[in-house]
Amino acid sequence: MGALFRSEELCLVQIFLQSGSAYNCVSELGELGVVEFRDLNPHVNSFQRKFVNEVRRCEEMEKTFSDPVPSAPQPRDLLAIEEESERLATELKQVCVHSELALVNTICGNCRRKAQQVIFVYSWIFCGPSFFVAGVVHPWKVPAFERLLWRACRGYFIIEFQEMEKNPNVLETSDMTQWTVFLISFWGKTIGQKVKKICDCFHANTFFYPENTEERQELQKGLQSRIEDITQVLFQTESYLQQLLCRCVSILPQWKVCVMKCKAVHSILNMCSASVTDKCLIAEAWCPVRKLLLLQSALTEGTRRSGSIVDSFYNRLPLSSSSSPPTLFTTNSFTAVFQSLVDAYGVAKYGEVNPAAYTIVTFPFLFAVMFGDVGHGLLMVIAALWMILQNKDNKNTHFKNEMWRTVLAGRYLILSMGLFSVYTGAIYNHCFSRTLSIFPSSWHLRPMNWSDDTLRGSRFLCLDPNTTGVFRGPYPLGIDPIWHLASNHLTFLNSYKMKMSIIIGVLHMTFGICISYFNYSHSQQWFHVLLVLIPELLFMLGLFGYLVFLIIYKWLAFGPGQSDRAPSILLHFINMVLFTDNKETPPLYPGQVTHLQSVLMVVVLTSVPVLLLGRPIYLYYHHTRHQNMYLLNSLEHHSIRKQLEFDAVEVFMHQAIHTMEYCLGCISNTASYLRLWALSLAHAQLSDVLWMMVMRTSLSSRGMLGSVVLAGFFSFFALLTVSILLVMEGLSASLHTLRLHWVEFQSKFYSGTGYKFSPFSFTSITNPL
């Protein structure tokens, strides 16, 4: 059949990698993404593995790349990447140091300049020989500094402060704070010593200050030129830093990818075991059978790239019963969403039938049974088509929102749900809760011959199908439009929808039971077909298949002529199960109670013990027969006998639980399908109420004002339709459909105990989306 019916055939291969070309071969396999490696050293600590140093180096490099301004890692000469990154890092560091120095020098220069400006003021005031001390101090120390100086020198000094403009920071390492320039002029040498001591105390940097004006001017000129030079150097350093960082940015993503790939390859090499001669590594991997040639070509390519002469090759191993292969389903963008629905419950075991192949149709169909409205279905189809077209143009880069991406991923699901909803809506005859009369209605009023007095006399009159000409055959497509106008439409619709739910449910579950036949035939368990499948089928069909038969028989056989004696199916069903015979309920057909029903009940009741005991007894018999055989050649088969150890109690218990679960589950699951009726009723009523309350009141307003009112009401109607009926009801119906699939359908045949095939591929590592 197709690729979706069962898992793809996988085989276990043993790959012999020559030591020289091992790295290249594994990287080729990673580019291809075909095999899944098995860990051959599971009990070895990750610190004791063979290639732990390489992995560690790669991780260190990754850490370097994550820091935007690296702080010079200790280089180990492994790859060109390391050298390059080291070179770049050291260059950056030198640039930092230089710029730091340049900045400090600029500060000093600026300070001195400021000081010069201050002096010009004082040189006019003082005439005597004065000494000067110039320096810089932190601004927050200024008040304490000044106070201490005042107290120490008893006021025989003049101090002037000037703030400096803030310099822009380049690096966080240099401590750039604001400095305040001060200039102290005093008389006398002792005061000078005190001042110097206090300056040292406050960690103020002092500068040399010349006495006379010419020297000061010379100094100032020199400082000015130095400041210009240093600013120039700073500027060039910054532009160089910019260049360096630009180069880094352009190369950094590539380096990151390279290092990730290297690390991945080394972790795979860690999983291999070394051969006896230590010349080659042995790896075990799962590979799809149809990709084996691709595997060989990858190995030869890797060997060629590493320049080695000896080829790496693979050897196919037989599958042992202890390890089961992973499950692989090749899906395209359409089937992927349905496969993910099934995988969310559990990944299929290898060799098991995949329910996703059937979910593609049954999921939207059951959703549509609960949703059933042409108008809402059309809106869903339009929304889905828009999403599909959006996705075709720009591939999933447009929307970053997580929830929106989930909805986009399910665009094909929404499309099929919408299409099926249009169909079921046509059958239910619902279009935004209005009925469509495509064909003329089958119920006719005139043959009833009601007079005007009768009409005036009573509020409600019932059309009688017994009168000729009133009812002319069933409506060709779906539900007759007259039912929507009737006051007792729910009586009819409820009966119809409940019976429809039971029929669909029983058929769905029987389909699920029949699928388990394919599981048994695949694993060659023919006796299980006889001992498990047949009793299950008999139980289900004997009870609920017969119920479906009763429903259809009553529809066909009982008409308006017998409406006074039409029996209740439910009462008959209960009487059948309880083996009672109520004389007041007439039989549906002659011979019902005595013959057919009793036979059915006997069959059903005998199938239960067969289901309960059949399989365990068969397995027990099988085991003892094999044991007797092995007892004859007892010497060689001790180990095999251990494998065949048979826990009888466990098998019997397991089968008992399965039987109880199945039998009780049949009843509860059949009733569970009544949610199809419940939700479709809820949806129909909700849309009806919305129409009645919102649109009908607005459509009855007239005139110019009426049109404005209508526009307003319609927007309100549209908003409520989308938010409540489409989004809320859609989500609710999807959830119920999902539950019906997971519990009622899949419990009949699906175990879901496998694990997914996750091949070693670089694309999954570099783009973890």
Binding site: L461, I552, F558, S563
Partner: protein
């Protein structure tokens, strides 16, 4: 008269879904997706046909008729044939 319309509608629908589920699968070109497409067609045909069939069988022999209010009766007398 009534039987004729029933027979026509029954045969048309049966034929249509029979073609979709029984004939079209033979014309699907061979490819990796053939199995999936055939399954989809057959299942769609079965589900949709069954759904329509249940609807028409439920209305074949009605045990009671609709109960209309007098306003509706007056409206329908003059607007429906």
């Amino acid at each position: 008269m009534a039987d004729l319309s029933f027979v026509i509608s029954m045969s048309v629908m049966t034929l249509f879904w029979g073609i979709v589920g029984g004939v079209v699968p033979w014309f699907i070109p061979k490819g990796p997706n053939r199995g999936v497409i055939v399954t989809m067609l057959v299942l769609t045909a079965v589900c949709c046909y069954l759904f329509w069939l249940i609807a028409i069988l439920a209305q074949l022999n009605p045990l009671f008729g609709p109960s209309l209010s007098t306003d509706v009766i007056l409206y329908l007398r003059y607007h429906w044939p």
